[in-house]
């Protein structure tokens, strides 16, 4: 093994030291990954010592090993949840058959597409967030940002591991291409829309980790059921990390809300902006934006792709165990499908009983919607406790959608159809306007590097990381 490709530098539980094929693939890919990280990773912090968690094994202690490390020296590893002996496929046409340990040739292309699509989101989010460090509200948040970033990098490694190990030459080419696409670059964009949206400020970052990483959670849950066992095991381990990302998002928004509530109470008119905070309607607009673009990531409500993936036992439902019928040949999903004229005006609705397999994206989206509501209620409780009347809400899932049955049509946040013109007029009342963006940006012009100090617009966290105090120097500049 080369000096770079060995089990010390690359912690793993896939027996890298005896896997010649994987070693060879990584020898070519790893240096390109580091180049990509240096070019597209967090800008301006590559030389800093960051107090990061590194997974060095899959057992309870091993996956949460903390130490200072320079990000380019981070030990990105390859971990799969320990195999379940004699695991059987839990859904689809292959229900009850032994899980596949190699890629069935018949599904090679479908599986590769699933893995590449998932893998592409990981480096994309790192790219989207690369400038945020320069306006960080605290060292604690800066460290959390980097933790999310290096773990998204590790998620990329996880997907690349599958491509390298199971897809031969095609897989190696796809792994290279994952490092070549760039978020927001019109010539070589990332695959999914939301991953080309800029994430320019910290409110967006918290919303992203709350809403968009939660899409990631549900995609991973669906893949964790896959009949292709290595994919199932890889994604199960990724879920443990994803949970932290959503924690960053949920607590991040909550601290903003809490600070806003404090600032409102200081002001006679409960005017947060006057006190240098982010007002609640602006936060609601960010919710509307990130929630709606994240809903799009689930794909069309009526989808033959989804049906095919389910039928082929490649991508299931989140927590498939909780359902009784795992083949889902007969069921249907009742949907009201909008009917529109040429001008995209909704002229009526038709009831459709969509075969349940074709509605799998919507089934997964339902779970996501429920889950998204939970954190939002915690934010509302903060407002209640502060004695503020305002309540956040999730907009209708029809609102501001780019794909699926609502894509390209115009609905208000309650899901009522409206004309394009009326919608455009109301847009800035629902989504962050240029002025809102400028205002939020104006609060975040300079970074806060002093240990323990918080930017004016955000409350401190309840506690630090891994038992360290909030004042701990999480990043050594």
């Amino acid at each position: 093994m080369t000096s770079v490709i060995n089990s010390d530098k690359i912690p793993n539980n896939v027996d890298l030291s005896s896997d010649k094929k994987l070693q060879r693939a990584l020898e070519a890919w790893q240096p390109r990954f580091i180049d990509w990280w240096k070019e597209m990773g967090p800008e301006g912090f590559q030389e800093d010592q960051v107090y990061l968690r590194t997974a060095i094994s899959v057992d309870h202690d091993g996956w949460a090993h903390f130490d200072y490390v320079k990000m380019p020296d981070y030990r990105w590893g390859i971990f799969l949840t320990e195999p379940e002996p004699n695991r059987k496929i839990g859904f689809g046409d292959f229900y009850g058959e032994p899980a596949w340990q190699t890629v069935p040739g018949e599904f090679r292309n479908s599986l590769r597409r699933l893995i590449v699509t998932q893998g592409d989101t990981e480096p994309a989010s790192v790219e989207q967030q690369r400038l945020l460090g320069q306006t960080c509200p605290s060292l604690y948040d800066l460290r959390n940002l980097f933790q999310v970033n290096v773990e998204e990098g590790r998620h990329l490694w996880a997907m690349v591991y599958l491509l390298h190990s199971y897809f031969g030459r095609d897989g190696r080419e796809e792994a290279e291409a994952l490092l070549e696409r760039r978020s927001g670059n019109p010539d070589k964009p990332r695959i999914l829309g939301a991953f080309n949206e800029p994430c320019q400020n910290w409110l967006s970052f918290f919303m992203f980790t709350y809403f968009t990483d939660r899409d990631g959670k549900y995609q991973l849950l669906a893949l964790a059921e896959s009949g292709f066992d290595p994919l199932a095991r890889t994604t199960r381990f990724m879920l443990t990390e994803e949970a932290h990302h959503m924690f960053v998002g949920e607590t991040g928004v909550m601290r903003v809300v809490q600070r806003t509530a404090e600032l409102m109470k200081k002001n006679r008119h409960e005017d947060a902006r006057a006190e240098g905070g982010i007002d609640l309607p602006t936060i609601q607009k960010y919710i509307n934006f990130w929630y709606s673009v994240s809903l799009d990531l689930f794909g069309g409500e009526i989808s033959s792709n989804a049906a095919n993936f389910f039928a082929a036992s490649l991508k299931g439902r989140a927590k498939e165990d909780g359902y009784t019928d795992h083949r889902v040949i007969d069921g249907s999903y009742a949907m009201d499908v909008p009917v529109a004229d040429k001008e995209s005006n909704v002229t009526g609705w038709k009831k459709e009983d969509v075969p349940l397999r074709n509605a799998m994206n919507e089934v997964l989206r339902d779970e996501y919607v429920r889950d998204s509501q939970r954190g939002l209620e915690k934010w509302n409780r903060v407002l209640e406790e502060a004695g503020i009347q305002y309540q956040f809400r999730l907009p209708s899932r029809r609102f501001h959608r780019q794909n699926g049955i609502y894509g390209g049509l115009y609905f208000d946040v309650d899901g009522n159809p409206m004309s394009k013109e009326d919608w455009e007029k109301s847009r800035d009342g629902w989504l962050p306007s240029a002025a809102d963006e400028a205002y939020v940006a104006s609060l975040m012009t300079a970074p806060v590097y002093e240990a323990g100090k918080m930017a004016h617009w955000i409350a401190p966290p309840k506690q630090g990381i891994k038992g360290r105090p909030v004042e701990f120097e999480y990043v050594r500049r």
Binding site: G105, E106, R169
Partner: protein, 558 residues
Amino acid sequence: MEHAAPSSQEPIRFEAHPSGYKHWVLTFDGPIARLAMDVNQEHPLRPGYELKLNSYDLGVDIELADAVERIRFEHPEVKVVLVTSAQPRIFCAGANIYMLGSSTHAFKVNFCKFTNETRNSLEEACSESGQHYVAALNGVSSGGGYELALACEKILLADDGNSAVSFPETPLLAVLPGTGGLTRLVDKRKVRRDLADVFSTLAEGIRGRRAQEWNLVDESIAKSKFDATVKERALTMAAATPDKVGAGLTLAPVTPKRSTEKGWLKSEYTHVTLTVKPNDRLAEIEVRGPSSAESLAGESLRAAGNDLWIFRAFRELNDALLDLRFNHETAGLVLLTTKGDPEKVRAADKALLDLEASGDWLAHEIRLYVKRTLKRLDLSARSMFAILTKGSCFAGSLFELALAADRSYMLDDEDEPVQIGLSGMNHGPLPMSNGLTRLQTRFLGRPAIPTELVGVTELMDAATAKERGLVTFTPDAMDWDDEVRLAIEERVSLSPDALTGMEANLRFAGPETMETKIFARLSAWQNWIFQRPNAVGEKGALTMYGRPERPELDWRRT
């Protein structure tokens, strides 16, 4: 109702011998051979129909194919073959309708393909081997019967008020003549298309002088003078054909040893092994190169006869392909492999080509046989991957297997390089049905490449072969197993119908010939008309044939 697939019945075998013919009488008289059809109605290949009126089924055609081959190899003295009937008032009524009505679609397609290949071989004997086929139609010749006549160089029709030629398929059965008849009518005999149109919708056909005027036959001859005139014409043709030097070669059987293990069906020939893995929808054909290092040339090569490597190997391959087509319908993907020394293959190729160049007719026949077998491979409706691994000998005539394949996987191993090589066989003697070599067809857009490749005489490793565009993929040892496994699994998961169409579209780039037209149109119309309710539906014409009620047709045109 369709019968169960033939593969669930006794397998069909393709070896025959004149001593066992049930349907043909083959006699020799100096330079003239007489091949008289005398179909025994009690001996259909499958039970369930009677072969009345000299109608034929595959069994009849297997004997015909055997006769054509034997005349070519065993009887170099024969210059004219009279194809005629030994039954009164009927030459041949064509393919048996009840047999067609009770066969699966796949069987019908393969049956027609086989009969076409036999007709092509007969035409090739006329043009390449100095054996001229003359159809002496001493009775009614309809459908496939007239198609057989069309494959002959000359058609002589008895003018007796009864003997007619006809294509009743369209008016009576709502299908088409299945053995290239329509194409040969206008392309080979150049019958005017409006007259051909009239002819092809006239169930009772055309007799006597008019048949000659329309050029449906070469001569219409009064019954009283028919036999004498036929003989006279035959002798004239024979006199104009040069003699061949050297004795004929009596064809020995190539019957393989057949066994079943672990559900795999193995047919082991001397140089070929066919392994069918029904559960994987897969077959493997391994062709082994010449084993002895001694280089046969000239007389010693000729003397090797049936045991000459290239001849035996390709006869075995031919038999394996027919076995595969008829008896293993679900083996959708064929892996082509070879084993041996590429240099020995090239030496064997060269020896045969040298002997042929010296004017030896047997060497010439053997080379034509190799050519026909490779065409049969091209025309087999199976996916084909060539697998080039260590110890393989894809060189010269055997490299044609890789070129015939839909794609090829060649192991790239620096330590023990796998090598391919070209020989004279790759540059002209083994054209496809489009008239081009497989290299020319492969590089249709870059005609300079096949010309350059003539100069490439050294063996090539995987990297070179890939760079020259001679193989598709060259995984290294580490990737090999996965790449090949995935490719195989993926291929066998695709629709067999779509693949058949796709492959046929991609395999035959380049110019159209009568052969390519016949096969392309055959598969196009058969896969449509023969599936349509108007033919095979409950009230379709083919189904209703011979029953009291009339067929009911759906009148909508496409």
